[in-house]
């Protein structure tokens, strides 16, 4: 699978909305590296910088879905490499349980993801985002977990 | 033909041969070492490599006294004796009709037989 497969949008083509929370120290830097290495991924992915993946409250994830996001991905330092030593360990537990609950409620399990991307893994960042965007595109619009009032 | 895959042995024995760090303490502990063609540490290595067939033919299966010294001493929790026992069970299960019925075993035991040997005999022969 080639890394750089983001095609420009065709008119009328379904474009998902993807929110990516990236920790400042590893994944945001990894995304920067993807950028400086010109490793493309779809423009559907919009990154929000947080100090550590453990800053991401499940509310933020649900808020994104409420607002019509089609997929939410969290990226942090690899377990054991957290800038704050233990933050991503908590992230891992929290998101594991949250995603499991969303799955239990019948929300498509592919809509959420956690990936560990280090500051050196620009290629992994790009590959991850390409893959996630592809998955979400295949899933289609988030209908089960959005607030219909939004966007009106 | 019995299933002779590595997975079968691991499943029956419940062990993880990858934990082995090749220290050899099992073979250093084994009281039946000299009666064996394949030694406890070799059982671990060979099962890991998937070389099951020669082990099924090995006289070590019957030389092992099930004293579990190797299990007790192993610093990594690999349980070589469980592997040997699993292989023995595989052989015995194949020979279903020839196995020693449990009720006959007491007759074969005299007063001098140590308790551990009795237990081992049950384990070895009545599976």
């Amino acid at each position: 699978m080639p890394l750089n497969t983001s095609a420009p949008a065709q008119t009328g083509e379904y474009r998902p909305l993807i929110v990516a929370f990236c920790c400042n120290w590893c994944s945001y830097a990894g995304a920067d590296l993807a950028g400086s290495s010109r490793l493309t991924y779809p423009a559907d992915v919009k990154i929000i910088r947080v100090p550590c993946s453990c800053r991401v409250n499940p509310l933020f994830v649900l808020k994104a879905f409420e607002r019509g996001a089609d997929g939410v991905i969290l990226c942090g330092c690899h377990p054991g490499d957290c800038h704050y030593t233990t933050g991503n360990y908590y992230t891992r537990r929290r998101m594991t349980l949250l995603f499991s609950m969303l799955d239990y409620l019948g929300i498509e399990r592919e809509r959420t993801r956690v990936e560990w991307v280090s500051a050196a893994e620009g290629a992994k960042f790009s590959a991850t985002m390409n893959d996630f965007a592809r998955t979400i595109r295949a899933l289609g619009e988030n209908r089960k977990l959005r607030d219909l009032r939004c966007g009106n | 033909m019995p299933e002779t895959t590595r997975e079968t042995v691991l499943r029956i024995s419940g062990t993880n041969t990858r934990k082995c760090m090749l220290c050899g303490k099992c073979s250093g502990s084994c009281p039946a070492y000299d009666a064996m063609d394949y030694r406890p540490h070799q059982f671990v290595a060979m099962v890991e490599r998937g070389e099951i067939a020669p082990l099924l033919q090995s006289k070590s299966l019957y030389a092992c006294m099930s004293c579990f010294a190797c299990v007790e001493r192993c610093p990594r929790g690999v349980q070589p004796a469980s592997l040997i026992e699993a292989l023995r069970a595989m052989v015995l299960r194949e020979r279903e009709h020839t196995r020693l019925p449990a009720q006959l075993i007491p007759e074969l035991i005299d007063a001098g037989t140590p308790q551990q040997a009795v237990v081992s005999a049950f384990r070895k022969l009545s599976k």
Binding site: P8, A31, L39, I48, C52, T85 | G24, C26
Partner: protein, 661 residues
Amino acid sequence: MQKIGVFVCWCGSNIAGTVDVGRVVEAVRQEPGVAFAADYQYMCSDSGQNLIKSAVKEHGLTGIVVCSCSPRMHEATFKKTAAAAGLNPYMVEIANIREHCSWIHKNMEEATEKAIVLARAAIAKVLKDAPLTSGTTEVTKRALVIGGGIAGIQTALDIAEAGFAVDIVEKQPTIGGRMAQLDKTFPTLDCSACILTPKMVDAGANENIELFTYSEVESVKGFVGNFTVTIRKKARSVRADLCTGCGECTEKCPSRKTKNEFNMGMDTRGAIYIPYAQAVPKIAVIDREHCLHFKTGKCGLCERTCSAKAIDFAQEDELVTRNYGAIVMATGFQMIDPSGFGEFGYGKSKDVLTSLEFERLMNAAGPTGGHLVCPSDGRHPKHIVFIQCVGSRDTSGCGKPYCSKICCMYTAKHAILVRDKYPDVSVTVFYIDVRTPGKNFDEFYRRAVEEYGVQYVKGMVGKVTREGGRLKVQGSDLLNDRQLHLEADMVVLAAAIEPDPTARSVASMLTASIDTNGFMTEAHPKLRPVESPTAGVFLSGVCQGPKDIPETVAQASACAAKVIGLLCKQKLVNNACVASSDPLLCNGCSSCEKVCPYGAITYEERELNDKGVRRTARVAVVNEAVCQGCGACTVACPSGAMDLKGFTNQQIMAEVDAICR
């Protein structure tokens, strides 16, 4: 009402080549709160920054969004620009439209759309920005080193050398630690005491160093730059100011049955004693548990003997409270007790020894005066078996899962020393792996094999039994596919090392974290290996992980450098993006405290006025000097009382909203 200025950078063609910056400017002008928007070729250049500064003044901007490269690149630059224009530097947000946009998208339409969305998110965030000020704290110019082994001594010497006062707390009556017990050191085989004791003397004599021997840390309060530590100076029953260290008393003492710790209990000492000849400080101490005076009220021979009148039976423990700017953990290690491994017969036969006991047995100042004899009957041994990895790399529960790192080398050292001094004694070493990474280490091990004829057997011992006054060793020889049954006179166990048990209680006083093996956790395993995650707490020596003497000394000096760096500062500038708890929302449930890696959260009872309802509540308080701003606490808090400045819940949700609009 906020007035936001948006500055869109072209970055030459880096951004402008893919993003229609003009359209971005047009789009953001429509955003509520935006009072000014402009684009410029290089926003980070002097003229770009001047554009920002003059816009702030001209339009009375209260916040700034710069759409440019990654904040990791120029956030600091634009914060300075804002500060120069009279704005609070935390009223600046960066929209990363280069690395996260123009450089990865090829389609102009698409990239422009995304740039607008990213700009909107930054605007949404800056609208909820609050001016932040970093607090500062004074630094107490004094360091505390806990543990007086080679690690603690080296760290203290280096800090003292830089001109700062430093105290060493050591629970034993003398500094010196484990290294003082060693005979020779690998791979050079120089005498341990010869290289250690001058350092001990230096530490004792240095005017910047104060020693608290026979003392323990009682309590720790405070935080980086401002610790308050109470030290318990246990009663020596000997006045330090009067004792001359002559040793008269120690010889007269009639109670002689106490095991001598220094010689690993292989001989005895008096109830009043000086640990060893080179002890620093060289002051006697009474072991009250074994002293006849304390047990029966009689005796008092030492008191009568002492011409300096230094004996003081009425002496009491003394509590000393001092302030420190930094604390160094140098609590060291001990050897595990291998009697859990019944197969090796440790404790059953006196001729089965640990390596540290063997070390004393070989030492000229040891229980046998350096003569290698079997402890059971004093005979000269013919064959010695060394067993490596006793309790190391062991997940069975009795041992330790890690490699103790130093055993391969000291076992080779022991083998060489034996063969060198007693060529008639044969030596067999059972090993699982021989690990010798280190300068001149492998050469040393090879010398043991090639020059000294030490038998290295790849395999492990399964059983050591006593037979006719000798030892029988049964083990595997894997390379030769045989089981060995050897006769031996002594068996030496290279038992695993573990952190000193006192480290745990000290660490919990410091709120410094400990890993599953009891070693201190580093702030970062690679990049900050001598710092604890708890600010102001530093790590020196084996308390952080197994290491040999050169490594320990290197780390000790590295640790000192970090401490000096801290003590040099006049003031500590705190991180401005710190957590803070709303006392009206706080449940006092302690969830945040549990996830804080820095121990920055404490609780206090506070009188609250909750919209007219008065109540007293237990609420969380964040120490801003210690908080590093990770935000783990904010999510652990169920009521949302805990928030993170600069990355508040509202800010992040505003970004989410803006992106999903």
